[in-house]
Symmetry: D2
Subunit: 340 residues, 4 copies
């Protein structure tokens, strides 16, 4: 298959990650996360995200989100999120099944919720008939590739804490946020009061693996059981841990994410001259959204893999990956030019 | 870490499997199991297990078991199993959480349930106060390394079907059973009426991955949603599929399993001359159980990794792996001889 | 406590219902719904709602809704409903907990969803990442006291069936709908293709009790287990059944509901002359909604029990009950007049 | 129907209870437990069970048990109980569905677990693969009519607390225990360290209703939401509260239970002269168990309602109720004498 703009999980494994796996395979190791590599990768998280950061490895993004949410809720709680959130739109009711909670999606246009939006959802607190708001889950970057500013995150965290609630970040592309903001992950999560973070890897060059990171001790306390019961505990855990160790070392995660971000920027700039393609959202990370004429869209999909985000408006999504090359963009843009 | 007798998941990745992963990494691929490698690996399952076999890849053994059981039950059902079953003893109530069902563990001495055992549990059928038996889940080989004969499996399948129930096999080590019985997996599962199989890989040389295989169309029908909701759907699924493709090709799975079985047999034979070590169970697959003097056990654990199966009787478990070498056994046995 | 406009469940037990309870108490009876009164009350449902109607008694409205929904869904399904639905707004995530499903609330202004509204929610069908729509649950009358026309119900039922889905009616006040439409319940439920009905009693003069009625055999098949597992099976079931037998005999349910409907109409007409009170919704059953000046609202709440429906607009809700008397309305209206 | 020995829930409503219902019906009342009768009945529980006692009304025994257990557990916990426990044998996996927990049934002969029994189940504590023991749920009296001594309860409570666990009592017949022990309920629950109690009513003359009583503040804290989400919150709650107020006033509950206990004793004494009937268990509350010849059992069941407890041994169960009369026993015994 040619380069795919379909998703950053269409890409493969970064060579440094593959090397780490191969290296981790030299030996026997205790299972279920009690091995040395897991220990050292866990410490690396502490080093980068702060001493309070308790990291736990899991298999995939949906898994990371649902076990994190389970640790923060009782079944009578409500989980607030933007309506575009992955947990709301793309996880086949996994959060509801795992937690028993109600999801309260908040209408947004850019994937970002505001303090005012969230405040409106704090109704029925103390009323036994209503699911009790307990977590706000936001994505950084959002599903639309946009970014919360540190100030916005801080305000949301404060709002949640004032209401005895938690702030969770779905960071399946957190390294893209970090690269784009040019700030270490810690400075826009732990430092701002974020309580839990799904720290993604698979979409940025890992073969497999995500981490759940808690910044509050109480959330980590019984998490081993939650993870196990959710079937998110890996026996040969060293093979996920080794990937994360390589990923977080020497800034590899930022290098890979920075590259895919820059490819999206490059794609954006190359498209600007094509009047039939209208960029529909600010390009802040590794994705470009655009409106296409229906006809052009259909023809382009014959040649390239990408998805239509909104069938009504023919808004399409083009994702760049750690291994997207300048030539891939050039070929794509030239194909568009041929077609218009 | 030296060779570990702790578990076959302490071992690493077989080189042929690692090669398959590396090869699968050459390109972009559609995510979530719609790629070409997944298709061809799925077909390979059909080829080996029969046209009715519908295989779905998942992350781990607990995951395989709970999504398989979920597909076979409604929440008011009961799931029968031997009391030593992994689903009963080692999955932190994951089956209960996923399915809502009651587990009805059946007392056994050798890990195997009989038709008579199971019949006794068919009580309260049609009585609204009782969870309604729907699945019998057995392990082949059992947690104790023992094997059901094909005749026993056939009779259990018939019993279940007569009662409008299903037979599930937890086959986390199914290839070890196949190698030991010297029969293809199909001939002691699909051909005998087994309805669903958790087909293991991780314990026999895969980096990661298991498959759920259904032999009844009705069970596969809506399984995609069950797997997704259970957070067992892998985005970069080709990397599990590629492993299974290599694993099932040219009899690799049997070669690896046959080796670990033979290492267990070799260990058994070498131990026979040591009177302080009493083999406690028939060695039929890749595990040796033995009673040890308490003192010897403690000293041996200082030098080698293995687990005590029963603290009361000091029965220990020694597992062999695909990469256990004759020298590892020799070293282990000579250490025992030194200590006695 | 004086007359309450707070809710129709602030009222007590109708004398005919209490008599039925007293009469049912003359003797011993088999428990758990196998008694004679339960049998005859169940038959009465068949007589009134059609031979396909299978009725099961439960404790309360939330109970009725969640066991009905559980019978119609698997955990990966989505349940569509108007955003004002009781299951969405007032049941503390009980439907999510019981079913594991996602609720998809549809924005409405009058509590009623249209075929067009519902069609828009049929997205992601067949897509493993999305909860699969399976049930539309509407309320008749709605939470806002409005009524679906038979034609509207028929079209919604057809739409659902075309999409291999079910239509459920939350009929906690179904007798008020029947009295207002001047049609037997059957003619706007079973006859139009409705698949399941929560048939209310408690809000219209019963001491306790609701019924779940299925019009499709497949839904009733294993319902006994669902009800029991949900803790909605009553041991002394005759005492709910006897109430329903009295309730459905000689048109008592319609008599009681008709009275409360007419009291709402009377209240509406008496209020028309008071300019400070603006009726906000059509009065079609036993409830009157109105906008009040904030000040007037506060003062009136000191004297009478009622609830504010919308704090932002000071829209209040006044419910009439089977035992609301003309004098109660007159007193209430005269108090308003005094206060304005 | 004649007198039934089938169960104490075959009996009806005690006249004093019915009177209380009728009296509670004189008026309007706020719903969902915020009415005056609920307040005063709740206070009565405090008065009788201690200031720490927080009582909440629910519909039925299964409901009481599952919401109490839900308040004491997280889904990864295990709930220990005797194998004969109602929660294990007669609630169609409702506890598993509600809590997600594993039930760990303990083999008993007399329905009572000992400190030694329970200690054996404390395995795998701190091991992520094992459901973590959190609650011991015992029945007082047991399903076999036997009673724990205060000393036994105290020791079990201490054991549980030492292990950071709770002790729950399923007291569906707690008043029978109280009458038999000749001790107030408080003295063998709250005073001994019991953490939660399902306080039964329906089986001893109530029309409907049970109470969940917590003796630890932390358990009551968010219980309103748990009860609501479990569909165990009654709108017209005054009608359950009024029954309990009458039930706990003037020792009515003990009077009713004492009577049914004495009827069981009378039945036992009358049976002693009949050699074909062998009393099989100590008669400590309101039930008599006996072995019958198969033939006699069949013939007797033609004339009287009762259930076979154990089909293999033809052990039968005869329950007495608050309204069992001496004549009912005499008639029953004389029928037996005729048949032998």
């Amino acid at each position: 298959m040619l380069h795919s703009f379909g998703s950053d999980n269409h890409s493969g494994v970064a060579p440094q990650i593959l090397d780490a796996i191969i290296k981790a395979n030299s030996d026997f190791a205790v299972a279920y996360g009690e091995d040395e590599i897991t220990k050292s990768a866990t410490l690396l998280f502490k080093k980068q995200l702060g001493d309070n950061a308790e990291a736990f490895f899991v298999f995939n993004g949906t898994g990371a989100n649902i076990v994190a949410l389970k640790a923060m809720t009782n079944s009578y709680n409500a989980i607030l999120c933007p309506d575009s959130a992955h947990i709301n739109s793309d996880e086949c009711a996994a959060p509801e099944k795992m937690t028993g909670c109600k999801l309260l999606p908040i209408k947004t246009t850019d994937g970002k919720v505001t303090v005012e939006d969230v405040k409106k959802e704090f109704k029925g607190i103390g009323n036994q008939h209503h699911a009790q708001a307990k977590v706000l889950s936001i994505s950084q970057p959002t599903e639309l590739g946009t970014l919360y500013t540190p100030k916005e995150i801080k305000e949301l965290a404060e709002l949640m804490h004032q209401n005895n609630c938690y702030l969770h970040i779905d960071g399946s592309r957190i390294s893209n946020a970090s690269a784009s903001l040019n700030m270490p992950v810690k400075s826009f999560t732990a430092d701002l009061g974020v309580d839990a973070l799904s720290f993604g890897g698979t979409k940025n060059g890992l073969l497999i693996g995500e981490a759940v990171v808690f910044f509050k001790k109480e959330l980590a306390e019984n998490f081993l059981y939650i993870r196990k019961q959710a079937a998110q505990l890996f026996s040969k855990n060293r093979f996920i841990a080794a990937q994360f160790e390589a990923y977080l070392s020497g800034g590899l995660n930022l290098k890979l994410a920075g590259h895919s971000n820059s490819m999206a920027k490059y794609l954006e700039s190359e498209l600007k001259s094509i009047s039939q393609v209208r960029i529909s959202r600010p390009v802040e990370t590794n994705v470009v959204f655009a409106y296409l004429p229906k006809d052009l869209c259909a023809k382009l999909q014959e040649r390239h893999c990408f998805y239509i985000w909104d069938e009504d408006t023919i808004e399409v999504r083009w994702m760049c990956s750690f291994n997207t090359r300048k030539e891939d963009i050039d070929k794509f843009v030239s194909d568009i030019k041929l077609l218009v």
